[in-house]
């Protein structure tokens, strides 16, 4: 069976920029960051105060009759995003399609608040017992499982956990399941909810969190800003989408994944470069076809110069004509959901012809010398784009997108 073209026909998102797709796009296209003082956790004992939280989210509005109590926040985000993506796609589910629908999700830390509550009960409160839902709320696959139950989809369903590359790895797997005929549709993306004191303390100890804001590629960058949220996209074979007259928002045309095999936290140039090249190769795209890269762009001293060098290595002279931005400067770094939030940002950018900026950019850095779309969004029709995710552990995952024909 020859490979099938894979259309993106639905998008759903809940993130620090908005509780749905429309709100999120409004903020992305305006370059309006969702970063501010962390409200859900007392940060008085931390060296940083700011994060990108999902605000004004009401679990009971989405999960009535106490159903939210059975789901950690990260799993709720996955279902909220998946429901919106399915509505957006307009797919009518038949019994046969339900069995051929894949759900591939990414999450780095899973139900962090559930396990932390259990440990607090045990070690701090001395209760000697933890809540019976601790295990099913904590398990990293809870997001994928709840989508499956909520929407009644019963095909291949699993969660990928590769730290900050989780969602891109998930999207790449889903893309290939649809591309090679293993599934006739897929819901894929990622979700994360990491605002717990234990998690924030652990990130503080890593010394990669900015005390003010996230300034990717800017000389005065001081680290990343943690974020949370969920984003899902619906994938279908191109012909099936066309046959049902679906609106097609874009296409996934390639995926590349590599490992640095080098260091637990320090990235290499070669690993990310090989992942970008592999994505281009599978997509059958010349480097010159890429007009935009949604960068990993964490705003750390470790990532940004290395990613810049990797882009230069892959694109050569064309690197000077590429537009690159890190939307983490807007929605923060949602770890295992990052690639999903950024996939939605990238697809919307291609679809609307507006490239979201790198916010909070103040000073050029000689080590980061590409066009980062500083601060102001840019109107530009782009044929194809890459979305980069590079994880601790040296695991790189790059997704290639093509704009839908207009």
């Amino acid at each position: 069976m020859p490979p099938r073209r894979v259309a993106i026909t639905g998008l759903g998102i809940i993130c620090p920029l908005g509780l749905n797709l429309a709100e999120t796009w409004d903020a992305l296209r305006a370059g309006r960051p969702g970063i501010g003082p962390i409200q859900s956790v007392d940060c008085s004992s931390l060296r940083f105060r700011n994060g990108a939280e999902v605000r004004s989210y009401d679990p009971a509005a989405h999960f009535p009759e106490g159903r939210d109590a059975y789901m950690d926040r990260f799993a709720q985000f996955s279902v909220v995003a998946a429901r919106e993506a399915m509505r957006h796609s307009g797919i009518e589910l038949t019994p046969a399609l339900r069995e051929r629908a894949a759900i591939i999700c990414g999450s780095a830390v899973g139900g962090q608040s559930a396990i932390e509550k259990g440990f607090e009960d045990l070690y701090v409160a001395g209760r000697g017992r933890v809540h019976p839902l601790t295990i099913p709320k904590t398990m990293s696959n809870a997001g994928a499982s709840h989508i499956s139950m909520d929407l009644g989809l019963s095909g291949p369903t699993y969660t990928v956990s590769t730290a900050c590359s989780s969602a891109n790895h998930a999207i790449g797997q889903a893309f290939r399941l649809v591309r090679w005929g293993e599934a006739d549709m897929a819901i894929t993306g990622g979700s994360e909810a990491l605002f717990t004191i234990g998690m924030l303390k652990a990130w503080e100890a890593m010394r990669v969190i900015s005390p003010d804001t996230c300034r990717p590629f800017s000389k005065d960058r001081r680290g990343m800003i943690l974020g949370e949220g969920g984003a899902m996209i619906v994938l279908e074979p191109w012909e099936a989408a066309q046959a049902r007259g679906a609106a097609i928002y874009g296409e996934i045309c390639g995926f590349g994944m590599t490992s640095d095999a080098s260091h637990l936290t320090q990235p290499t140039v070669a690993g990310p470069a090989r992942a970008m090249s592999a994505a281009l190769r599978e997509a059958g795209l010349a480097a010159e076809a890429i007009g935009y890269i949604n960068a990993h762009g964490t705003g750390t001293s470790g990532n940004d110069p290395i990613e810049t060098s990797a882009i230069r290595e892959v694109f050569g002279a064309h690197a000077n004509r590429l537009a690159v931005s890190s939307t983490k400067s807007l929605h923060g770094h949602a770890l295992g959901a990052a690639g999903a939030l950024e996939a939605v940002a990238t697809v919307l950018a291609l679809y609307h012809g507006i490239l979201p900026p790198t916010a909070n950019y103040t000073q050029p850095d000689p080590e980061c010398d590409l066009d980062y779309i500083p601060n102001q969004p840019r109107a530009a029709r782009v044929e194809a784009a890459l979305s980069n995710s590079f994880a601790f552990g040296g695991l790189n995952a790059v997704v290639a997108f093509r704009a839908a024909p207009r």
Partner: protein, 106 residues
């Protein structure tokens, strides 16, 4: 216990408890003989990467009851940079009782 193993070549003849503690902690973190580490040792050259430095600083925060700001960490190149940074922090503020736990502060 570390003090017994401090080499004179490491800290010189003058007694410097901060330097001794830093060298001993680094030796412990990297499982190296303390004799092999000197104050002007370049951390990168001896294969000490950012994760080693963060682990070292974590132990030193416990040992000295201080909190080391992230911005101070970026300029660290040698063992002496760490020693001087800690002395500066100790001079600037009294030990922070909230840092460190009974189990990890030795």
């Amino acid at each position: 216990m570390f003090q017994d193993r401090i080499s004179p070549t490491g800290v010189g003849s003058m007694s410097d408890p901060v330097a001794e503690k830093v060298l001993a902690t680094l030796a412990s973190v990297k499982r190296l003989p303390v004799e092999n580490i000197k104050l002007d040792t370049n951390l990168q050259e001896m294969g000490i990467d950012s994760l080693d430095v963060f682990s070292l600083l974590f132990e030193l925060e416990n040992a000295f009851k201080i909190s080391i700001p992230d911005d101070e960490v970026r300029s660290i190149k040698t063992v002496n940079d760490i020693v001087n940074g800690i002395k500066k922090l100790l001079a600037a503020a009294p030990p922070d009782a909230s840092v460190g736990s009974p189990s990890s502060a030795d």
